[in-house]
Symmetry: C2
Subunit: 125 residues, 2 copies
């Protein structure tokens, strides 16, 4: 990631301007409206490098897809088993990081995910 590329720029723009937690394929579909002949492999490669670099977050909620998040500040995620949406939640503490250290484990990141039914699905059904 030494050189600029308009593809990476467009990927970051798409990711910045959504409040969802999209998959690589969703991002691909969106970026194609900016760069119609962009390759899916390019999207995957850039997302993977950006994530390794700490510029974005990669999130796995066990639905078979990797999800990406432009927001790298610490926050938890609420994953709806009904509609698949992922919402953010701000915890003001990180008890697992503290417990980890006490146990001699050096945590880089802690991930908090709640699985359940979101407000929208609860009222709709």
């Amino acid at each position: 990631m030494k050189n600029y590329s308009k593809q990476r720029e467009a990927i970051l723009t798409v990711l910045r301007e959504t409040d969802t937690h999209p998959t690589a394929n969703w991002i691909y579909e969106q970026v194609r409206e900016i760069i119609p002949n962009i390759s899916l492999g390019t999207v995957y490669r850039n997302l993977s490098e950006l994530s390794r670099n700490g510029d974005i977050i990669s999130l796995n909620v066990g639905d078979g897809f990797e999800h990406f998040d432009y927001d790298t500040t610490p926050h938890a995620h609420l994953h709806c088993k009904e509609c698949g949406c992922i919402h953010d939640a701000r915890l003001e503490c990180d008890p697992l990081a503290e417990l980890s250290k006490k146990m001699g484990f050096m945590p880089d990141t802690t991930i908090y995910v709640a699985y359940g039914i979101c407000q929208n699905c609860k009222t709709t059904n």
Copy 2:
């Protein structure tokens, strides 16, 4: 899961008797020592049904494999990025469940995973 099967019995035995958080393939290899001609598909199907049934836990730490845990009591996981091991940690609170409810989200399960370097890898390298 209405009928008994010695395959499912063996899968549960293997899972009960390890303190690791094995993948389907690892379980398959172990069960083959009890039932040499068991099918990998049988292992996957049983793990998936047991997990859907709440008898075991399925855990995804983003390493490309699904992991399984015989212990269904609430606990957090520490995943070492170096050796890939997963250790248990007992949190005495569940702040995400509480926050979720306040936000109108009905959580079934909350998952806590810390990513970092385990004590063993830290001292070895």
